[in-house]
């Protein structure tokens, strides 16, 4: 068994054993109600520090745009697909896209997507790195 780690421990609600069972969190400002991701301490909107609550990010969004990359840095096996996803809570995430092959047929701009937790890459020492990915929302043509 390879070791596993999250892409960033501070960005998820529970640091539980199973990397598939994680919830990404943002910071929600108690004063102005603005939501930020990744989590942070200062709300630039009202210039307050440590007035944030953690809030689970929406797991649903729509695909702003995507590409299929035929080149990639170490730890990524081309071709792989990624995109910008606009979540229903207003947060925009860059994310790998999964369960969507053949890519050019399955992926459409503005299509509804849902978040899954999955392996993103591996560290050079073989440690598996987990984070969020998005896949087409099953039965979704909203």
């Amino acid at each position: 068994m390879h070791k596993k780690r999250l892409i960033n421990d501070k960005w998820f609600l529970h640091n539980v054993e199973d990397p598939h069972d994680q919830t990404p969190i943002g910071s929600y400002c108690n004063d102005c109600g603005k939501l930020y991701f990744p989590p942070k301490r200062v709300c630039p909107n009202c210039m307050q520090i440590d007035r944030m609550d953690t809030k689970a990010l929406s797991r649903k969004g729509k695909l702003l745009s995507f590409t299929v990359s035929y080149v990639g840095p170490q730890g990524f096996e081309p071709p792989y697909a990624y995109g910008w996803v606009d979540l229903s809570d207003g947060i925009r995430l860059f994310s790998l896209l999964t369960d969507c092959q053949p890519f050019e047929e399955r992926l459409k701009l503005d299509m509804p997507l849902e978040m899954v937790m999955d392996k993103i890459t591996e560290d050079p020492d073989g440690t598996e790195v987990y984070g969020y990915k998005f896949r087409p929302l099953l039965g979704g043509s909203q």
């Binding site: 080149v71 910008w84 207003g90 701009l109």
Partner: protein, 387 residues
């Protein structure tokens, strides 16, 4: 503020120059710029040097000092500026402000980069560092990918076609074939662009700028000093820069920082986009040039595709864009590009560009972008030069 003049310019060949060190690239371009300006090394009072991989790849710190020592420019403040692909544009801005403010009379703005001959993994890692590494780089984002996503959205929203986008590469490679310092010297056809290998769909290889080495240098001074050296000075009419906002709801079919920097630059120069004779813009990918037409006000939103198709941005068109060949043909040594654009604009305004000479230019615009995070650019620069 004092009026500022670009008194001299010089640059090396752009392209893969594995046999040349940073020191040698810097030596050549600095020598050419000092000779062109007609000043002595001891006349230079300060220098700003754009460079990216020197530190990110662990090549060399203090690149500017080492390069300038080669031509005897020593004993002055030399500042390295890293702002990803717009590093040299910001070096130029600092040099401009130093002269305009009255702090120095004669200064250097330099851009220098060596990207070939280094370990590919290290270069890729360094380039990933010009995204938001913690959020995006670690998830495998690449620059062709960013612009591929922009391409799809622009096509979806405005009906821009891959054929129109390919015509940017055809135009710029054509222009580059008239520029002896351009990395690529051959023309390509729309078919060639389509048939080159897929990099990040829908962008193929010829839609992407190459990896390059090179150095470009400009000597800046005051109007008063310039009159001792030349009767036809080239003035800096404006130089404006801004960072991104990275908002969650940004429209990715435009670059807001370009729009803001251009608006401020036009105001500073007291002109509008219709007064610009020609432009050197940041065509790191073909689609980028189409966005820049729109963001700089050369055409309306969504009309960038038809604009390149119409030939208006050809060398003999209404507003020539990237007569040098741009990043797509001339090459993109990332820390050097901003000053290389200034070199081309000065040479065009002087009428020294031979077969790629723009007809009767009065005002030239240089536009550069640097780094990318969260669907926004981290830096945009717009500089206007005039006769």
């Amino acid at each position: 503020m004092r009026d500022v003049v670009v008194l001299g310019v010089g640059m090396t060949l752009f392209g893969k120059q594995t046999d040349k060190s940073l020191r040698e690239l810097g030596e050549e371009a600095s020598f050419l710029a000092l000779k062109d300006a007609g000043v002595r090394p001891g006349d230079i009072e300060a220098a700003w040097c754009g460079n990216v991989l020197g530190s990110l790849c662990g090549q060399q710190a203090g690149v500017g000092q080492i390069a300038l020592e080669q031509v005897g420019v020593t004993g002055i403040p030399v500042v390295r500026i890293e702002n990803a692909c717009s590093s040299a544009s910001f070096a130029f801005k600092e040099a401009f402000m130093a002269v305009a403010s009255g702090f120095y009379d004669i200064v250097i703005a330099m851009g220098i980069e060596k990207m070939s001959g280094y370990d590919t993994a290290a270069t890729l890692r360094a380039m990933a560092g010009t995204s938001d590494y913690e959020l995006e780089g670690v998830q495998g984002i690449t620059f062709p990918g960013v612009f591929a996503m922009i391409t799809r959205r622009h096509m979806h929203h405005y009906g821009t076609t891959l054929d129109q986008i390919a015509r940017v590469a055809v135009k710029n490679r054509g222009n580059g074939s008239f520029n002896p310092k351009s990395q690529f010297q051959g023309r390509v056809s729309v078919d060639d662009v389509f048939q080159s290998r897929m990099i990040s769909s829908p962008l193929t290889l010829y839609n992407c700028c190459p990896i390059s080495d090179g150095c470009a240098v400009a000597v800046l001074t005051t109007e008063r000093v310039a009159k001792r050296y030349t009767s036809t000075p080239i003035y800096v009419a404006a130089s404006e820069q801004t960072s991104g906002t990275y908002r969650e709801d940004l429209d990715i079919t435009q670059f807001e920082p370009t729009i803001k920097a251009a608006k401020k630059a036009y105001e500073q120069a007291g002109i509008g986009p219709e007064d610009v004779s020609f432009a050197e813009v940041h065509d790191c990918f073909t689609i980028a040039e189409i966005l820049h037409y729109e963001d700089l006000g050369f055409c309306n939103k969504g009309e960038g595709g038809p604009m390149v198709e119409s030939g208006e941005t050809e060398i003999n068109g209404k507003i020539p864009v990237n007569p040098s060949g741009g990043l797509l043909s001339k090459g993109h040594p990332i820390g050097a590009t901003g000053v290389a654009q200034i070199v081309e604009i000065v040479e065009q305004l002087r009428g020294h560009c031979g077969d790629r000479q723009v007809k009767t230019p009065k005002i030239g615009l240089a536009h550069c972008l640097g780094a990318f995070r969260h669907a926004d650019v981290c830096s945009a620069s717009v500089t206007l030069l005039k006769k």
